[in-house]
Symmetry: C2
Subunit: 397 residues, 2 copies
């Protein structure tokens, strides 16, 4: 039999081995029980653990994705394993901030799964990664974010893993009557966006806003032949003809920013947990949805609600990293908006009457926030984004 | 900087990129909080979810390891994606049966994480894998094994994953006074082993006993140049000189068995959940430990207890798969015993007075069981295994 899936594809993202919407995965899970709140941002199931009819439980799995491949490159270049501490944060925040979207406030129980190629990843890298989990939990504790590490597994999987893969799972229990069900997102509500770039009071360095999504596009459109030649283990040989097509070296400066390109790419994914916990404490009944703009970027909201038209006419300024990718990648604005967070990674959809309070909480943590749009009544699910003088229209599948 | 970890190693297993004892990982986690029961088979933490002082919670992560690489080979050869259903079982049982060892009885909440190379793994494989999770849960439900799928994540990670990786996480809550703490394993108790091969009443086909551990050794000592040439994506290029050194083709018959070699290797990991749940219901107070012989194989017990000497003088017959590996691999008995389950994968350490009952429960499910050894008082932790006329001695690090 011919080996599967080796055909050619028109789309560069797909050519690089990433299916942005994963339609085949969507079909694969089409018949799976959707849980207590079908169409919510995360799946919740009855409280099988403690048996309370008033509670529900969520388990959420995700990881740092191919960002760890770039961390590996930087580790080899600098010899500094601490780069993997930030990968631990990436892996955690991809779960934690999704769970914030349904109103979960913790405690958050964390398990981690590390797969490594022992020939490439020595113990000091694993140590840094595991330290990263603990340090991130310690850093957030003063803000009421209760992360409880429950152990994990580190497996030597060189025949499967080219370098290192860092996944996490979080379990949380919450009251059903506090669950924020994005399937019921309300027309008339406004969308408050919270900046992905900058430096929050709970962060110890400036953040480029990179996040964890879009790293296949990011790496291969920024970096070029030098990285490709020196680190063939950092990409799939099947995509060699579309790998590292950029013109940059890792230490090139990011225009408009004090960071190098690779530093900007490797900024850890910001968590919004300290902010969202405080917002939930005071404004929960006035919030109809919270979106975490991960896979799908600015179009994430299209997966939620019925008969709604999202209008985003007032996006935040484009952070230098995404502005530069826009300049050099050849990606169209439409694609950029579907891949990257483009400046704000969390959206609180709320009654206009609490928008100022929501914005105020974010700003009290020195995270910029503003009303970036609104939810209107519509037919099906659609989205309009005003971007750099153009209006882009998106419709849900 | 020189890239890390590319030196040469004496040990073939290490040369193939697997550190059997993972000393660097042990050091990396040395300072991590050990939870409520230090030295137990699984880490338990206080019931942060529901806040009951009488309960504890466990999260457990593991996966199918490099067995999925061999499943990929078989999928390409046959075109039948159903081979991935069994990989889902492997991934689940690596967690479920570990949790049985501390006396957890469920409900077991399951999350799965799939990482794939989209260029190699199409949607039908993902579908089969996700179906496998659901089917396994359905199959065990009549036996009181309550597995609750909570969703998961499928990520396109070709730059990290050569083919496909299938990990799972299980969360369970249990009473603290029912926790089986292997650190207190009792001298005077006997060790009942339960066969890994055969066909249990709750299984629909004969099982070779393969399990999920030792697959790097298994694949590379059985299969040869044909697999290597046709499926270079199934092994790490860094280990090319020690990859697929066997003499077999996948469809060669396994001597003493009706299966082909690759079929025998790909038998799904048997769960002992139906058996152990019944044993726990009637014999729990008489059980001082349960061991799941995964990484470390027959020496797994060496990680548990204080001042104990394990004596295993009556192992079960060696299943044909391991007998053949012993013949063709060039691995010494000492190494085989440290890598493979060698015939029984779960050990119940119990008062001699209940051994017959424990054995009887296993046999009622048509899983062979017998007293394979005993626990004596000792100094530190040591293990004697009588194997094929020799006595092998092992001492804990």
């Amino acid at each position: 039999m011919k080996k599967p899936g080796l055909g050619t594809d028109a789309d560069l993202y797909l050519q690089r081995g990433v299916s942005a919407r994963k339609p085949d995965v969507q079909r694969a899970i089409a018949n799976i029980d959707p849980g207590l709140f079908p169409g919510a941002f995360c799946k919740a199931i009855p409280d099988y653990l403690a048996g309370s009819p008033e509670h529900c439980v969520l388990m959420h799995s995700d990881g740092a994705g191919t960002k760890s491949s770039l961390a590996y490159v930087q580790y080899c270049r600098t010899g500094d394993a601490r780069v993997f501490r930030d990968i631990a944060q990436d892996s955690l925040v991809m779960n934690l901030d999704d769970l914030l979207c349904v109103g979960a406030t913790g405690p958050f129980l964390v398990s981690n799964t590390i797969g490594r190629n022992l020939k490439r990843i020595p113990g000091e890298a694993i140590k840094a990664l595991i330290e990263g989990y603990e340090m991130f939990a310690d850093k957030l504790a003063p803000y009421g974010v209760d992360l409880r590490p429950c152990g994990g597994e580190t497996a030597d999987l060189g025949d499967l893993v080219r370098t290192i893969i860092a996944d996490s799972c979080i379990t949380v229990r919450m009251r059903r009557d506090e669950f924020i069900d994005a399937s019921k997102v309300k027309p008339g509500h406004v969308i408050v966006g919270m900046a992905s770039a900058g430096q929050a009071t709970y962060e110890d360095k400036l953040n480029s806003g990179a996040g964890t999504n879009g790293f296949t596009a990011l790496r291969h459109s920024l970096f070029g032949a030098e990285v490709k030649a020196e680190f063939p283990e950092s990409f799939a040989p099947e995509i060699s003809d579309v790998a590292y097509l950029g013109s940059h070296r890792p230490d090139d400066p990011l225009p408009g920013c004090s960071m190098t390109l690779i530093e900007a790419c490797l900024c850890p994914t910001r968590t919004y947990a300290p902010i969202v916990l405080r917002i939930l404490a005071s404004c929960r009944p006035a919030i109809s949805a919270i979106f975490h703009n991960t896979g799908g970027g600015q179009t994430k909201c299209l997966g939620f609600g019925s008969d709604v038209h999202y209008v985003k006419e007032n996006l935040m300024p484009l952070p230098p990293l995404f502005a530069h990718v826009r300049t050099v990648s050849g990606m169209k604005d439409r694609e950029l908006l579907q891949v990257f967070n483009m400046g704000h990674r969390v959206e609180v959809v709320c009654d206009p009457g609490v928008a100022d309070e929501v914005i105020g909480v974010a700003r009290s943590f020195e995270v910029d926030a503003q009303i970036i749009g609104r939810v209107e009544s519509g037919s099906g699910r659609s989205l309009t984004i005003a971007f750099d003088g153009s209006r882009l229209e998106f419709v849900a599948d």
